[in-house]
Symmetry: C3
Subunit: 207 residues, 3 copies
């Protein structure tokens, strides 16, 4: 199982998203269990929503405890060691989150392709897998979801998911398509972080 | 499909609820993707919760992209044009929302009747379809749900859903039962808006 | 059905968790329907999340209206009578909640054992059944979940759920295993309430 590079990437994505949850837990000064629960939300939330919407036979992490172990391990490590990152934490979080977004979007796209649904819905499911975990994290912490506020985020997921579908359709092998589309998602999001790219917010009057 | 008046009504209900989400997004000054995501919550949220609770084979909008297109269309239009409604926005929102509530409650009741569940549970599922989307919209926007605060709202859904069950049981044809019970829901909610009818809030001491 | 002591305990657990929701509704000065909806969240929320994650054929309360009747009854009674408890309300809530936590955790563990999942996942499902309802209650009321803040809570559920698995594995009959592990959960949580036991919160710098 751990020989499988795609599986290893899934675990890395889980770890970086769990880290984003642990950092949110640190901001709220939670205890160790709070760290674990808030780390679970971004790490497994997006894929859980996808599996529920597609009525999967089981939600992916219920049958594979490695996801839970990775999340718990990251949460415990963060609880004791995350203060060491003071000063660089926010920048690190942004890049880890961008990496998780890219991985999860393309993996969610792959899962959705195994269902008999329209390609547009496949892209939506990829986007949900990549972005809804972070939204759940923010809802649990009682904050306005970053997904709704920040620089280009959902758009990066949509670009990457579309790229994957097009590459597969062109006959590019799965590994190559994955590498290119994960990179595309990461680059779009990374450029948005570096240059503060954002879509214009609504500028109308009060409602 | 678009010949079917019931389907057209479902799309209208989706559009007015999406508009309520877009107006919430405007209040939060979100970008275009924020508009789409916050519009999705009320437009498909209630039916999604119903389908998940009933363990439907698939959540309704996953197999029918028209719901997503209507929501995206309303969100995009609202992003660019909703400022034109300044001044009348709140009143318009209330009436659009009342119309969506009435349509979705009766449609949710119809869907629930196809399952082998008790009539009381059918009414509860109708009420959930009509009201939970708005609650999800408010949770995503980090506000106390209007469902929990405002004038008679869930009660209108319950009245309409019960009316539909009784009319069908009396042998009234589906179209007639639907027309009457949608109207009943809309009238109860409309009267509550016009005359500020509300149930008395809890008046006890601090807890 | 009401001859079954386990079923009676499930109804008692439902009632005490519904009471915790009604008290949250009282704090927010909601109306009668608000009381019912906020009482539903803790009373059926944890088991609902468990049933969705395990892809149960149906969510438990959809086929058994008694849960809904108990919640509605407690909500109505609370709406009219909860002010009588002023002064002792908070203490009462804590103990009722501890009792509900203990019952629901062990019942959730029993349900999860009927699925083909790893024992660690059984414990996680028991913990989710016992604790996620209260988290949903707090999310609906737009508050930071108590689960994330308070004294030892999730840990009590994990201790009780593990105890149940070990006792069953040792060949202790179901009734005895249940009695001991419900008591263990209640005692751990009760001691945490009495002596303000809590796990240390994160003490690092700002993130």
């Amino acid at each position: 199982m751990f020989d499988d590079p795609i599986y290893l990437l899934a675990m890395m994505g889980t770890a970086v998203f769990a880290l984003s949850g642990a950092m949110a837990a640190a901001r709220k000064k939670l205890d160790l269990f709070g760290f674990i629960i808030v780390a679970l939300a971004p790490a497994v939330g997006g894929g859980t929503v996808r599996d529920l919407l597609l009525d999967a036979d089981y939600v992916f992490w219920v049958k594979d405890l490695n996801y839970v172990y990775v999340v718990a391990g990251v949460a415990v490590l963060s609880f004791f060691q995350v203060h060491r990152l003071d000063g660089k934490k926010y920048a690190l979080l942004m890049w880890a989150d961008a990496f998780g977004l890219a991985l999860f979007t393309i993996m969610g796209t792959q899962v959705a392709m195994t269902y008999d649904i329209h390609p547009v819905m496949v892209v939506i499911m990829g986007m949900i897998t990549g972005t809804f975990g972070g939204m759940l994290r923010d809802i649990v912490c009682n904050e306005v979801p970053l997904l709704l506020q920040k620089e280009i985020y959902a758009l990066a997921a949509i670009v990457g998911s579309c790229a994957y579908l097009i590459l597969i359709d062109m006959g590019i092998p799965q590994e190559g398509s994955m590498l290119i589309s994960v990179t595309a998602t990461f680059v779009v999001r990374g450029l948005a972080i570096l240059f503060h790219w954002s879509l214009p917010p609504y500028k109308g009057g009060q409602t």
